[in-house]
């Protein structure tokens, strides 16, 4: 069979495999449902990469399997394959296409990063988070309260100021997507705008010793009125 026929078959199989793989990836649910304004651009980027990665993965895997099935040495064939040592245009192509793809992804990534980190107009709710082995301490400087849990009003931008009293920890609510390490001796910031009322958990994502696996705190996102009420109760 001539190379053109093989190439045609590989193209058709790649198209089929890409469709299947991308569909599988996009159907895969991310069960921590998005619950912040930051989750949207991140999930979108992830889906974009599932699509691009799915096609590249399909192309290479199809080629790998096809090569093995179609080009196995059969008795009676000449021992050695055709002496092709390279093909410069092809080599340039498979350097430039990935280059273009990763640069495109870098631009998309940088734009999304700007979106999720820039300060919103107006005043943010400030929460000081202090991590220590193996719990979190929350402080609301604007209200002068230090409650035992993290409670946030829905749709209001929050600025977390994170630090640690002992070792490195990392503050992560999977539904909010973004995480930020809490480093002793430093203050790091993290911006989150919760968008869904509900109960979540803040986990420590950076190995911090013996009980790291158990280090968590309840997080509740509530309606603004409920939040105001709660603040008043805390002040008493």
């Amino acid at each position: 069979m001539n190379p053109r026929r093989h190439a045609l078959r590989v193209t058709a199989l790649t198209a089929l495999a890409s469709a299947l793989l991308v569909a599988l990836f996009l159907k895969t649910s991310l069960t921590p449902l998005p619950a912040s304004a930051q989750a949207e651009p991140i999930d979108r980027l992830l889906r974009l990469m599932f699509a691009i990665g799915g096609v590249i993965l399909a192309l290479c895997l199809v080629l790998l399997v096809y090569n093995v099935l179609a080009f196995r040495h059969r008795p009676g064939q000449p021992e050695e394959g055709p002496p092709q040592e390279g093909h410069t245009p092809l080599e340039v192509l498979w350097s430039l296409v990935p280059l273009a793809l990763v640069l495109f992804l870098a631009v998309e990534g940088a734009l999304a990063l700007r979106d999720i980190t820039q300060a919103p107009p107006g005043e943010e709710l400030e929460v000081r988070v202090t991590a220590f082995q193996w719990a979190w301490r929350f402080e609301y400087p604007q209200y002068g309260i230090t409650p035992g849990e993290l409670r946030l009003p829905v749709d209001r931008p929050v600025l977390f100021r994170l630090t640690s009293r002992d070792v490195v920890h990392s503050f992560w609510v999977p539904e909010f997507r973004v995480k930020q390490d809490a480093v002793p001796g430093m203050e790091k910031v993290l911006r989150v705008t919760p968008t869904k009322v509900g109960s979540y958990k803040a986990w420590c994502a950076e190995l911090c010793g013996l009980a790291h696996t158990l280090m968590q705190a309840p997080v509740r996102v509530v309606e603004p009125e409920g939040f105001e009420r709660w603040v008043k109760e805390q002040r008493r």
């Binding site: 080629l63 090569n67 480093v183």
Partner: protein
Amino acid sequence: MRATLWRLGIVRGLTWGLGGTGGAMAATMLVRAALGLGAWNSGPVTAVGSLVGILFYLWGLGAFKGWGRWALGRPEEEHPCQPPWTRYFSYATNHKTIGVQYMVTSLLVLLVAGIYQLIARLETSQPGIQFLSLDTYNSLMSLHGIMMLGGVLLGISGMINYLVPLMLGARDMAFPRLNALSFWVTPPAVVLFLLSLPAGGFDTGWTAYPPLSIRGPLGMQFMLLAFYLMGWSSILGSINFLTTIIKMRAPGMGLFRMPIFVWATLATAILQLIFTQFVATAFLMVLLERLLGLGFFNPERGGNALLFQHLFWFYSHPAVYIFVLPGLGVISEVVPVFSRKPLFGYRAVALSSLGIAVGGTMVWGHHMFAAGIEEWLRVPFMVTTLLVAVPTGVKVFSWLATMWMSRIHLDTPMLFALTSIAVFLIGGITGVPNGIIPVDLYIHDTYWVVAHFHHTLFGGFVFPAMAAIYFWFPKFTGRRLNEGWGKLHWALMTAGFFITYEPMFWLGLNGMRRRVADYDPALGLGTMNIVVTIGGYLIALAMLLFFINLMGSAWRGALAPGNPWRSRTLEWQLPSPPPEENFPTTPRVVGPPYGYGIPGSVHAVVAPAGGAGEKEERWRTAPI
């Protein structure tokens, strides 16, 4: 018998080493008592003990004998006749002996590290605490990580040591004594790794981030010292690899006639030489902070906790390429031989190793996106990280193009190479989301990362190492590994791998943090975790078959001819195993290494013994 035992370097080294350790510990305690500090303090006493013990051990081993005689102008010592097996337990300088020493040590270390994780994995099969204490889980998981990496470093040194001089047509490495030293500092490292668990283990993972690592138990100190020694071995080894490649090539072996494995070694050795010092510095600083109370990483004393992470990742990201480049080189060796076609785009594949090495030096910051690296550094690191995908892609596409329209033979080495390509490909593609900062802020420190780097290390080291062992075992031993067992091993291990690691991507996306003994049952991750555990034990079963095959075939496997795979590179033009000084006369290199199917193409001419010319002067190895 007693005389023979005492002549074994390892027995003398061990005796001297234990004596030195005991003496130094006693002396330290006396000094401490005299200073009124209280005689026993496990940290400093064992630190002095292990460091002094290692020097005594090297002395007993005979590591300084050759250099000492050379420095004093005395003639070299005559070696009395000994049974051949004793060389493997002595301070031998032949590169093939050292290669075997490295490879066997590597397999043992990888085996122990694997067993540690098999135990820890059982614990994570279900939410809740099953049978391990949190402390034990953390220690097993952490030791799994650092010992695997130690085992990988030993493994690549073993392959490089055995193969590179043969592939270059050289008689030995450039500095045989230095070579022996770079192997023999690793057994104390292995001992320290093994002692870490009884000494309380440590709970920092392999990354040893302070301030946590400052607080860890004695096991932490043993791990830091052990990896420090591995670093010595790595740096000394790389000097040898580089000099050998630059100075010891047979006539006609231009850079672009070198086998790709040698190119990969070149790139790896450059990274080892330049970057190992950073991790050594970082670990040394943690040790000094622990032992002497210096405040490098302690903010209360003017230190900076993130400084360690920079120093650590200066090395530990390039280290990823140190680990995988030789393996990718193995794939480039195996694929043309079993496809009976030249390696497609030889020059691009050769240079892509250097491209990955150079690119890999500028990406360390991507490990710290979530740690809070300077805002304006985030995007540059994202771009450099993603650019590494380009030379990596060149390799994968070139392998696929090599197989295109070829005549493939599916012997075990080729099967392992095929799995390597598929696994490394997935590892590469799944690394891109980690490189994109916003997405990384989500998947960082989750099972996604665990899945990703196990793909790169299995695809870039473990499966290629298996391909290498099945490929070169006949060269090492003169016997073939059993093909039937080999194929069963391949099938089980490939299936086990995919069953273990593909679900981990899903687990990570669904909120499973890495390095945890327990997880929230509400996440619904229990079923998938059982699948992962089953896959892990399938890999273990495959490894069991492998070890049985390895020992059985070394004992009574079918005899192998000199060149069973009809390969063209130089090591195959010798009898198996190769003679003590490799080539009877200097080979002449006249063509490309993978000229399969090219009419009249010859890689090298190896004259039989007693043929033209004497051994050339340039073969003389340095007294170092």
